[in-house]
């Protein structure tokens, strides 16, 4: 059987990490192709519910990334985001959601190499963890056998 290829969704801000990933490209640094980037104006816009949605729909791992503290294009969007992440991540952990599968990072527009490292590291660790079957099990209602009650 072929090696497990994790599906990884990246939620990134437009001004730092998206631009950073652009730099990875212009610098021709190669990295694992498992990741798909979704572009947000700011980490402050990233709704925690979207992270859960990603797991619902079958993601095995998630990357959330934006501007370093003090570098936010909107001055404080990432500060707000950080506070939410602290609480959200802890709640996930408390409910037993595998927080190893959610990687938070700051990647600036100048850190093309760092972006590649983050992606590769994430892909490697998710490969080791395997598919997120726990969540998939509860998520895909239609596949559950029909039963009483």
């Amino acid at each position: 059987m072929a090696e497990f290829e994790p599906k990884i969704v990246a939620f990134v801000c437009n001004w730092c990490t998206y631009a950073g990933a652009d730099l990875t490209g212009t610098s021709r640094i190669k990295y694992a192709s498992n990741v798909r980037i979704i572009r947000f104006p700011c980490t402050g816009r990233i709704d925690y519910m979207l992270l859960l949605k990603a797991f619902d729909e079958g993601a095995d791992g998630i990357i959330v990334s934006g501007c370093h503290p003090n570098d936010c294009h909107y001055t404080s969007g990432n500060f707000h985001a950080r506070r939410r992440w602290i609480m959200f991540r802890s709640l996930c952990d408390f409910t037993g959601i595998d927080t190893e599968r959610i990687k938070f990072s700051w990647v600036s527009a100048a850190e093309g190499a760092k972006w590649a490292d983050i992606v590769n590291a994430t892909v490697t660790s998710i490969r080791e963890l395997g598919p997120y079957t726990d969540y998939k099990k509860v998520a895909k209602y239609p596949e559950k056998e029909v039963s009483h009650g």
Binding site: Y48, M49, L52, K53, D56, P69, N70, S76, F79, H80, R82, R83, R84, W85, I86, M87, F88, R89, S90, L91, C92, D93, F94, T95, G96, I97, D98, T99, K103, F104, S105, W106, I118, D134, K137, V138, A139, Y141, K144
Partner: protein, 266 residues
């Protein structure tokens, strides 16, 4: 509660308020909410250790609000809820008067919400020992064990939303679960729908929950869903020095400190 009854009568007779919200003897040794609109009904008012329902849930209920200025019998948790509601512009001195009941079950009246706030701030929000123990127990578990624990606990939930209805902070007219473009949270009560509903609820109450346990007391299935908000309360303490409902606003999750600490962002 003689003085409570006396005061309630005055307030109605002088039509200082239109309705006094309090507790009365209910059926089968339960107590329940009473809405006094006629002075004579004030005699039904009572208070004892069974009166744990958070009456603050009524001050945002349309039919109650529409009666006019309200007075509310408020234990410490209720007072906290009132202050939080005031900080969210849902009540103010013009539409609400607080008839306090101290933790020592003494009647205490407040001239305005500022006085209520001052009183409330004498006490910090502390999680009771039994639940604290439960939290510790859960935190010691492996994520996999916790996952199993919560799936087992939450799966029976049939989404009657009694927890939401009983919570004074859940006064939104359109809850996120009622939002369907897109359908953020599955409507049916199955593992996913239940898990996400309870996570969402806990997040929305983070920094607002004052730990009154109304949600848990209301749950017809006694699901320990209040552990989620209690956990958030503990985290708020650990990460941001905790919070108290405050008329000054400055909500925990809509503000930040540039030096907020975390150890997981690469």
């Amino acid at each position: 509660m003689v003085d409570l009854i006396k005061r309630a009568k005055e307030l109605i007779e002088t039509s200082t308020v239109k309705v006094v919200i309090g507790y009365e003897q209910g059926t089968a040794n339960k107590t329940r909410a009473l809405f006094v609109e006629k002075a004579e009904d004030a005699d039904k008012l009572m208070f004892d250790s069974r009166c744990v329902q958070n009456l603050a849930a009524y001050v945002t209920k349309r039919e109650v609000k529409e009666k006019g200025k309200m007075a509310i019998t408020a234990t410490l948790p209720v007072m906290r809820s009132i202050i939080q509601l005031a900080s969210e512009f849902q009540v103010n001195d013009n539409n609400l008067l607080v008839l306090g009941i101290t933790p020592e079950s003494k009647f205490i009246e407040f001239g305005n919400l500022v006085e209520v706030e001052t009183f409330v701030h004498q006490y910090t929000i502390e999680i009771d020992a039994r639940n604290k123990e439960m939290l510790d127990k859960l935190e010691k578990m492996s994520p996999a064990e916790r996952w199993k624990f919560w799936i087992d606990e939450l799966t029976p939930c049939f989404k009657c939303y009694a927890c939401r209805a009983a919570c004074p902070m859940c006064y939104c007219h359109r809850c996120t679960v009622d939002f369907n473009q897109p359908q953020w949270i599955p409507v049916p009560s199955h593992e996913l729908g239940n898990l996400e509903w309870h996570i969402m609820r806990a997040i929305h109450l983070t920094g607002r929950c004052i730990d009154c346990d109304a949600c848990y007391n209301a749950c017809p299935l006694s699901i320990p869903l209040n552990l989620l908000t209690k956990k958030m309360l503990e985290d708020a303490k650990e990460h941001f020095g905790g919070y108290q409902p405050s008329l000054k606003g400055g909500h925990l999750m809509s503000t930040y400190k540039p030096d907020d600490k975390e150890n997981f962002i690469q």
